[in-house]
């Protein structure tokens, strides 16, 4: 699309190039993001022009994630996401029109991901290929084939993905941290699912899941980058406009995790050379007023060489690195610290330092310079994100999954407004032992492990 052709439609209702009247309702605009709603089925649209390059990102976020699963079908959201590439009546491998192949041929950077609160599908493409992406996403919103013959090989693909994760101490620790900290809320279940559920979930159960959650009124479409608004909306209407809204109400998650009433601990022992430790405190949901202060706290604890835990652990040669995450999710989540322990150091020594450092913030607070550095780092991250349409789409997808798009738009100013005293207050509020889960990954010796001699013939087993 030529920049000269850029003409923004005035707020109000606009019609598509077909004859149906006023298919879109303009909702609101903030920070350059314009929200529209497809009146025929409730599909929400967020548009943000960003003409860094002749590239556009189209993404669909479904408001369904592992949070919506239960025992027996954990991992269903993720397995379904894989099956969504297996085809629709229009896009099929056997017809030479496999979804991935069509996208690959136009040079798309595309994929799909599943997380606790959402599933997203995205394509970053040359602007003139926008309609191809829209057509594919519309086709699989209600037309996915979901055949058992596809599920069977895909299940083993996903199982190998699960197995790769089991090779990673970090992934093992974070999954068990959530499983231990959450006993009732579905954040207990890892997004990839438990192995036996991955293996056992039926195609019929996946179809039921699809029919429950994959509807326009449970989705948000994002168009970010180089596009012309009225033309983009018309394309959306043409391909999504006739898809009906769900006839049933989209089920809500009712389970609330009760307060944690005492420290919890878990230990994993596996063959390896490096121990890991994680400390996770129960916190709040993303749209809670304390979220910004927790994000700043995470930055000043683990955001760079000058951060408190880097200085206390890596600079002191106690840990190999440190990763601090203030998880931002739709329901109350965790504030986590992960660290691989330097061989020869006791994990307990690292745990003690982490405990002392978080308590020091609670006890003494932080300096204004430290708080300002954290604010600036987060602000800079937001500005860097705006360099590329796919990064904006990724950030916006997370925001609408855990809160709403205005949360994304307001984030820089909310961060800017947090006084340093608030950082100390949230440390005092959440860093208490009753809400703490400590996890330790302990390496054990390999026994007979070792390399065999090279074998020129046969396969050396």
């Amino acid at each position: 699309m030529s920049p000269k052709a850029k003409r923004r439609a005035p707020p109000g209702n606009v019609s598509s190039r077909r004859t149906r009247p006023t298919p879109f309702q303009f909702v609101k605009e903030k920070a350059g993001i314009r929200e529209w709603r497809l009146t025929s089925n409730g599909l929400k649209l967020l548009l943000l022009e960003n003409r860094v390059a002749p590239v556009v990102t189209f993404a669909i976020v479904y408001h369904v994630g592992s949070r919506n699963e239960g025992v027996g079908y954990t991992g269903a959201t993720h397995l379904l996401e894989h099956l969504m590439f297996k085809g629709t009546p229009k896009y099929q491998r056997d017809k030479g029109t496999a979804i991935a192949a069509v996208l690959e041929a136009i040079g798309a950077r595309f994929n799909a991901t599943t997380w606790f609160d959402r599933t997203n599908y995205y394509e970053t493409i040359p602007s003139d290929q926008f309609e191809t992406a829209v057509r594919i996403e519309a086709s699989r919103m209600r037309g996915s084939l979901l055949r058992d013959q596809d599920r069977q090989p895909e299940m083993t693909v996903v199982r190998n993905e699960f197995e790769r994760g089991e090779n990673s101490p970090f992934q093992v620790l974070y999954k068990l941290a959530f499983a231990t900290a959450f006993r009732e809320h579905p954040y207990h279940h890892p997004t990839i699912g438990w192995r036996s559920d991955i293996e056992g979930v039926s195609t019929a159960r996946l179809k039921e899941f699809y029919d429950t959650f994959y509807h326009p009124n449970n989705a948000t479409a994002l168009i970010i980058g180089d596009f012309e608004e009225s033309s983009a909306l018309a394309t959306i209407d043409e391909h999504f406009g006739r898809i009906p809204a769900s006839r049933r109400e989209i089920p809500r998650v009712l389970t609330v995790e009760p307060p944690q009433e005492g420290e919890r601990r878990f230990i994993v022992r596996r063959v390896g050379q490096v121990a890991w430790i994680s400390l996770s405190w129960r916190t709040v949901q993303a749209n809670h007023p304390d979220t910004a202060a927790l994000a700043l706290l995470a930055h000043l604890m683990g955001g760079g060489v000058t951060s408190r835990l880097y200085q206390a652990l890596v600079e002191k040669s106690l840990a190999l690195s440190v990763n601090v995450i203030a998880w931002q999710l739709r329901d109350p989540a965790l504030f986590s610290v992960f660290a691989p322990v330097r061989p020869g150091v006791e994990p307990a020594a690292v745990e003690a330092v982490i405990r002392e450092e978080v308590q020091r913030v609670a006890r003494e607070g932080v300096s204004e310079a430290e708080a300002e550095k954290a604010r600036t780092q987060i602000e800079a991250d937001v500005v860097f994100d705006r360099d590329s349409s796919d990064q904006i789409a990724a950030s916006l997808s997370e925001a609408i999954a855990v809160a709403d798009w205005e949360w994304y738009a307001d984030y820089p100013s909310v961060i800017r407004s947090v006084p340093r005293e608030e950082i100390q207050r949230v440390a005092q509020t959440y860093f208490n032992d009753d809400g703490l889960t400590v996890g330790v990954f302990l390496p054990k010796s390999a026994g007979s492990a070792g390399e065999s001699a090279p074998d020129e013939e046969g396969d050396g087993e």
């Binding site: 000269k4 960003n50 860094v52 390059a53 590239v55 491998r93 991935a100 192949a101 690959e104 041929a105 040079g107 798309a108 950077r109 970053t124 493409i125 040359p126 290929q129 090989p153 895909e154 299940m155 083993t156 693909v157 190998n160 993905e161 197995e163 790769r164 090779n167 980058g225 063959v271 390896g272 050379q273 490096v274 760079g304 060489v305 000058t306 600079e315 040669s317 190999l320 330097r342 550095k373 600036t376 780092q377 800079a380 500005v383 860097f384 360099d387 590329s388 796919d390 007979s448 492990a449 390399e451 065999s452 090279p454 074998d455 020129e456 013939e457 046969g458 396969d459 050396g460 087993e461």
Partner: protein, 443 residues
């Protein structure tokens, strides 16, 4: 690029609305040999930096190539004017970042990277030059880094992907070759032995203005950036010119190896053979177009469709040439459930053989070409993407016009050429095959 004492900005290309990249990029070559490139892009208030210097592991003694990556990593640990903590404090408080790295995947170069809000661009450039030209390699910092690095190597040795790849490289490359990989314990012993004087000597021998290339893209004024950098770099020693000896490609070493690693849920398999393909040469595009069809993507390539999509034997399978200024290996890598190793390997080898026999299909080849052109366009969609692409074009001597010529260059490749170049370099009978994982009692 022609040497130019002043910035040269060319006008828009006739008949088109926007200037070509070659026209829009402002460059300057300094008497020392340093080349500077700036592309103004004022849409966002950010700048991205990418650059290179020819001081990679190839230039370190063969038995201690890791000296190059440790030296690059330690550059920012202290200068004649600032401590590590002061440098980090200044950068982090502005939301800026600078990185210097060299790893074994490119034996020739050191990568320079950076990002800043445009209002802090002067500070970023000043610190970059300071770090590059006046590092002091404090002993205490090196001791800390050695401890961290040794732990990190131990961590890597727990990974099936690392163990299988390193073992394959040991089999196909002699110890003198930069793509050879040492065993973990040997690498740890070398790291342990490093002294600040080793880093200082390597720095003095290899770092200098002659091989420095810097690319800046973003919300900056090109002339100001060029003037600032030229002034800041004016006193730096010239250092060696970028050149290196031709390395003979070793003969293939077909064979199989199995590495038992207990309690690993997933195993990794590597198929590898030496290749003569370097990044700058003409055969690179035909070969990589053919490889895209064979194994670039786990979702759409022939290997992906067969081994992952149809047979469900792997989560990820990729093939590729490790081509830089130095020819590296051709590899196929896949992760598998240990029980599925034999089946996955059989399918992989069969699919490669089938691909070599039948060659590319017309539509497949046309799709690969359109895909490559489209992806190139998409990759240029950010300041950092633009900086990386310009840097790569310069680093490999292709010139900035490569960004404009890329679609035509891809279009000009014929199917016959791609098939022939690929067949010349890939032969399943020559593969060294290494698997790492928990196989005992499961296969």
């Amino acid at each position: 690029m022609k040497p130019s004492p002043r910035p040269t900005r060319l006008g828009p290309r006739k008949g088109e609305g926007r200037p070509s990249y070659a026209e829009a990029i402002v460059s300057r070559k300094l008497p020392s040999g340093t080349e500077l490139y700036v592309l103004e892009n004022h849409i966002n208030p950010t700048m991205a930096l990418s650059g290179s210097l020819f001081a990679g592991g190839l230039f370190a003694p063969a038995e201690r190539r890791i000296l190059a990556s440790v030296t690059a990593g330690e550059l920012s640990k202290g200068t004649q004017s600032h401590t590590k903590l002061e440098i980090a404090e200044e950068l982090e408080s502005r939301g800026s970042s600078i990185s210097f790295s060299s790893d074994a995947s490119d034996p020739v170069g050191v990568d320079l990277g950076g990002a800043a809000l445009s209002r802090h661009s002067d500070h970023l450039l000043d610190r970059l030059v300071e770090i590059l030209t006046t590092p002091v390699f404090p002993a205490a910092e090196l001791e800390k880094e050695k401890k961290r690095l040794i732990g990190a190597i131990q961590q890597q040795q727990d990974q099936t992907s690392v163990r299988s790849y390193e073992a394959a490289m040991r089999q196909i490359y002699p110890a003198s070759h930069p793509f050879h990989r040492l065993r973990g314990e040997a690498l740890i012993a070398i790291v342990d032995s490093l002294q600040p004087s080793d880093l200082d000597t390597f720095y003095r021998e290899r770092y200098g203005a002659a091989s420095l290339r810097l690319v800046i893209v973003g919300d900056v004024v090109a002339a100001r950036v060029l003037d600032r950098l030229e002034k800041a770099l004016s006193g730096w020693r010239q250092g060696p010119r970028p050149k290196w000896p031709a390395l003979p490609v070793p003969p293939p070493a077909p064979g199989r190896e199995s590495i038992e690693m207990p309690e690993k849920a997933s195993a990794d398999v590597v198929l590898a053979s030496p290749s003569d393909l370097t990044r700058p040469e003409r055969a690179y595009l035909p070969c990589t177009l053919a490889n895209s069809a064979l194994g670039q993507s786990s979702l759409t390539s022939r290997l992906g469709v067969r081994v992952r999509d149809r047979e469900g034997l792997t989560y990820g399978i990729h093939s590729g040439f490790h081509s830089t200024h130095i020819a590296g290996p051709f590899t196929v890598t896949l992760s598998v459930r240990p029980e599925n190793r034999a089946a996955a390997l059989e399918s992989t080898l069969d699919e490669i053989a089938r691909f070599l026999k039948t060659g590319l299909k017309d539509k497949e080849f046309a799709d690969e070409k359109s895909s490559r052109i489209g992806k190139f366009k998409v990759d240029l969609g950010s300041n950092s993407g633009l900086a990386s692409a310009i840097d790569a074009a310069i680093y490999y001597g292709l010139g900035v016009s490569y960004l404009d010529e890329f679609p035509a260059r891809v279009s000009a490749v014929t199917k016959e050429e791609a098939d022939a170049e690929f067949r010349q370099r890939v032969d399943p009978g020559r593969f060294t095959i290494v698997a790492a994982g928990s196989f005992e009692g499961r296969t």
